[in-house]
C-alpha cells in the first residue's frame, strides 16, 4: 500500500467512476430539500416540506418499522441457522457436506422473481400471504445463502490447528467452539449480519408477492408511492435510508474494519 503512488490519469479515472456510481445518491439529496410538488432537478425552490410530509405519513412510518423489525429478526434467524450449518458443512465434512452446501446456496442462483412466484403459490395455499411470519420466511430464503456463504468461507480460512490446540489443552468440542472457533469467526459474523440486514431491508421482488394492504415494507411502500404520485417524498425517504446504510457500514468499519470484512 505504501509504495506505489497512484498516477494522475488513474486518479481521474477513479474519480469519474466514483461519480458515476454515486451520481444517483448525490442527486437525491438536493431533490429531498425541494419545495416543488413534483420530482424535478434542480428544484426551483427549497424547503423541508417533504421531510415534514414524511413525518405525517403513517403508512411510510409503519412500513419503516416493519422493515426494521423484519430485517432484525431475519438476520438473527439467519445467523442462528447459518453458524451451526457452516460448522457442520466445513468442519465435520460428512458425505453430504458438499450437497448440503450447494442446496443451501442454490437460491442465490435462481432468479428472484421465480422464487417469489414459487413462494406466492405455496404461501397462498397455507394462508401465509400478508403475514409477518410469511415475510420472515420469504426473506430467509434470500438471506440464508448469503450468511452461509460468508460464514463457510470465514470458517474455511481459519487455521484448524487453533481448534486442535484447544482440544489438546483439554477443551471439549463445545467449549472449543465457544472459546476459540466463534471468536475467530467474528469478522465473518459481523459481515454476515450486515449483509443479511441490508439484503432483507432492501428486498423488493419477493416482498411484492407477500405484502398485503395492511402489512408492507418500506421499499414496497416506496414502490407503490412512486406508482401513484411523483412527489419528492421518495427522495427524502431515500436520504434517510442512505444515512441508515452509512451508519451500518461505519459500525462495521469501526468494529472489525471494512476491507477485512468484505474483501478477501
Amino acid at each position: 500500500m505504501e509504495a506505489n503512488e497512484t498516477s494522475v490519469p488513474m486518479k481521474i479515472v477513479v474519480a469519474v467512476l466514483f461519480l458515476f456510481l454515486l451520481a444517483p445518491v448525490i442527486l437525491v439529496v438536493p431533490i429531498s430539500f425541494s419545495g416543488e410538488q413534483i420530482l424535478s432537478f434542480p428544484p426551483e425552490s427549497w424547503s423541508l416540506r417533504w421531510y415534514a410530509a414524511l413525518a405525517d405519513n403513517p403508512k411510510m412510518i409503519s412500513a419503516f418499522w416493519t422493515s426494521l423489525m423484519l430485517g432484525a429478526i431475519v438476520t438473527l434467524i439467519s445467523l442462528a441457522v447459518a453458524i451451526p450449518a457452516a460448522y457442520v458443512i466445513v468442519r465435520m465434512r460428512t458425505m453430504g457436506s458438499t450437497f448440503l452446501y450447494n442446496l443451501f446456496t442454490a437460491p442465490l442462483l435462481l432468479p428472484t422473481i421465480v422464487l417469489g412466484l414459487a413462494i406466492l403459490i405455496v404461501f397462498a395455499s397455507i394462508g401465509f400471504l400478508g403475514t409477518f411470519t410469511g415475510l420472515v420466511i420469504g426473506h430467509l430464503v434470500i438471506t440464508l445463502p448469503y450468511a452461509l456463504r460468508v460464514l463457510a468461507t470465514t470458517l474455511g480460512n481459519l487455521n484448524l490447528s487453533c481448534e486442535e490446540a484447544a482440544s489438546t489443552l483439554g477443551g471439549r468440542p463445545l467449549t472449543v467452539f465457544r472459546r476459540v472457533t466463534l471468536p475467530m469467526m467474528a469478522p465473518g459474523i459481523v459481515a454476515a449480519t450486515a449483509l443479511c440486514f441490508l439484503v432483507s431491508f432492501d428486498e423488493v421482488v419477493i416482498t411484492l408477492f407477500l405484502t398485503g394492504p395492511r402489512l408492507t415494507t418500506l421499499p414496497v411502500e416506496l414502490f407503490h408511492h412512486v406508482e401513484s404520485r411523483a412527489d419528492p417524498l421518495v427522495a427524502s425517504v431515500s436520504v434517510l435510508l442512505i444515512l441508515l446504510t452509512l451508519a451500518v457500514v461505519m459500525i462495521v468499519d469501526r468494529t472489525v474494519g471494512l476491507s477485512k470484512t468484505f474483501v478477501k
Binding site: N159, T168, L169, R179
Partner: protein, 372 residues
Amino acid sequence: MMHQTIRSGSPTLSDDRDAHLRLDGLTKRYGDSVAVAALDLAVPKGELVALLGPSGCGKTTTLRMVAGLIKPTDGRIVVASQDITQVPTYRRDMGLVFQSYALFPHMTVAKNVAFGLEMRSLPKPEIERRVKEALAMVRLEALAERKPRELSGGQQQRVALARALVIRPSILLLDEPLSNLDAKLRDEMRNEIRDIQQSLGITAVFVTHDQVEALSMCDKVVVMRGGKLEQMGTPVEVYEHPATPFVASFVGRTNRLEGIAQGDGRVAIGSMAVQVPGRPGGKVEIMIRPHRMKLVDVGSGEDAASEGVNRLAGSLTRVTFVGDLLQYHVDVDGTEIVVEAASDHGRGFRKVGAPVAVLWRVEDTMVFGRGA
C-alpha cells in the same frame, strides 16, 4: 558440527517395562494408501525421541494419532500402562506444539497460556501463578499482555511451548516446531527446548525432517520411511551404524558406490577393488561419509597405500567453498565422490582437473546388500 549429548545408562532400546509411551502395531490407512504401517515404538520416561524422515513418511500422522487428532485404523497407543487409543483428545493430557504455533489470535499471551488451566477449572490464583511461572520459563513475562500477532516468530514459538507445558502434560509433542524460524533462532530454540525438556524430565516426541535437529537434541532417533520404522537408536548408533542404505543417506551425507563383494572382504567396483569390514558376498552398495575421506595429490608423500586404507584414483572436477567446509568433487571412473575437509582460512583450494586420490579407512566403509 554436531554437539551430541550422550546420556549415561542404557544406550540400547529399553524394554517395555519402563516405557512411558508405547505404540503397538499402530496403523493408519487412507483407502488403499498406508500412511503408517504397524508401527511399534517404546519411549522411556523422560526421554526426547525424534521421529525423523522425509515428508510423507508418516511421522506427523503418527504424532497426530498419539495426540488423538487422527483415529488409528489399527493398533494401540499406551501411556503409563493405560490404553488411550479410544480416549478423546481433550482427555489425553498431552501438550502439542504446532509448526504454525496455532496461538489463539484473539487472546493475549497470558490468556493463551491460561487456556489449558481454565479447561481444568483450577482456582484463579493458581492459574495466575502457573501462567507466570510458565512465561518466566520461556523468558516472556514482559509480553504477557501482548496479542500473538505483535510477537516475533521465536516469541510466538516460546508462547506455544509455555502453553503446552503449563498443563504439565504427560507427554510433550512437538510437530516440526522449528521449521518456521530462521537458522540462527533455530539453533537457539533447539537448545532452549532441550534444556526445558531435560529440566522438567518430561517425555517428549519430536517430529522433524531435519537430521541435525534429531541428532543434536534427542535421546533416541526413529528414522521412518513410507510409514514404516527404518531404524531406531541413539543418534550415534543411527549415524555411525545405519541399518539400511536409506538411513545412511538420509541421516548425514554419504557417497554411494555399487559393486560385487568377493566374499573375502574385498568388493570389486568396475575395474577397481576396495576393502570392506566383514566378509559380505553378492551385490552390495558401499557408503562412505564425505568427511571420513581424505583427498591427496597423486604421487605426493601422503599418497601411500597402507594396510587398512582404501584408495581410489580420479580427477578433481569441482571445489566448493561452504564457509566451514571445502567440498571436493572427484570423478572416479564415472562416479562422483564428494570429499569434505575443514576449510583452513580459505586454504586448500586445488586445481580442477588434477589427478587426485581419495583415501579412507576400511572401518569407515558401510556395506549393504543389494538383494538379488
